[in-house]
């Protein structure tokens, strides 16, 4: 692709950066939203009404997928740094990928059913 060779390792690295940047942006917004707690019950519940609207609920499922990938792949990086399973790096990437999808399906279903009620 464009003269650059995409291996599982480089795809994993790229996705790790991308999800990491997204999560960093998210934590900024999250700290801003949660700070409304100190402005009292009304301010907080009004803010929560916005960020718990159906649109944000859907985005939140995307957030779950983002944090799951970053966690599982981060754990994969940690294993390699400790010298564990380095030779099986492709398999471990796919394991992280499948785990991400599996837990996303479980959590996403829960969050969707919360949204419906």
């Amino acid at each position: 692709m464009n003269g650059y060779r995409w291996h599982t390792g480089s795809v994993a690295w790229f996705l790790h950066r991308l999800t990491g940047l997204a999560l960093t942006l998210y934590i900024v917004l999250h700290i801003w939203v949660v700070h409304h707690l100190s402005l009292g019950p009304r301010a907080f519940d009004e803010t929560m009404a916005t960020v718990q609207s159906p649109l944000f609920r859907l985005l939140e499922i995307g957030l779950l997928g983002t944090v799951l990938y970053h966690s599982f792949n981060g754990f994969r990086i940690l294993l390699f740094d400790l010298g564990i399973a380095v030779k099986a790096q492709r398999k471990v990437f796919w394991a992280a990928f499948v785990l991400t999808l599996a837990v996303l399906a479980y959590g996403g279903e829960k969050m969707l059913s919360h949204m419906m009620h």
């Binding site: 949660v34 100190s38 929560m48 829960k110």
Partner: protein
């Protein structure tokens, strides 16, 4: 060329702390998700306030806050280290990231530490 400049130190420490904070964040996130999405999934002032009024949750949230900000900002520093090639550019971006991290830390601490539940 890439690793020239006066701000290149701390690579190994940054690397280790990123792994360590990441691992602890996974554990904290599990608790966070279980508590916030375990019930009916609706977050209200009442629910959050009853938790955050206790020292144990304040400690939990402070740890979460510090590690989360550190991990995010340290990650940004790693990205900057890869792309900003001159010492001047790198120094400016480093300073911006550290300043942003401190602002977030102060805002977060101001939310968590003095928090007392208020009635409607």
């Amino acid at each position: 060329m890439r690793y020239k400049g006066s701000l290149r130190s701390g690579g190994a420490t940054a690397w280790f702390l990123q792994r360590f904070s990441g691992l602890v964040l996974i554990v904290l996130l599990l608790v966070h998700f279980a508590v916030l999405h375990g019930g009916d999934g609706v977050v209200t002032y009442e629910k959050v306030a009853s938790r955050l009024a206790t020292p144990a949750w304040k400690t939990f949230d402070l740890l979460f806050l510090v590690l989360g900000i550190f991990h995010g900002m340290n990650g940004l520093l790693m990205v900057i280290r890869d792309y900003a090639t001159t010492g001047w550019k790198r120094g400016t971006l480093y300073a911006a990231v550290v300043a942003a991290g401190l602002v977030l830390l102060i805002l977060g601490c101001l939310t968590v530490i003095p928090f007392q539940a208020r009635l409607q």
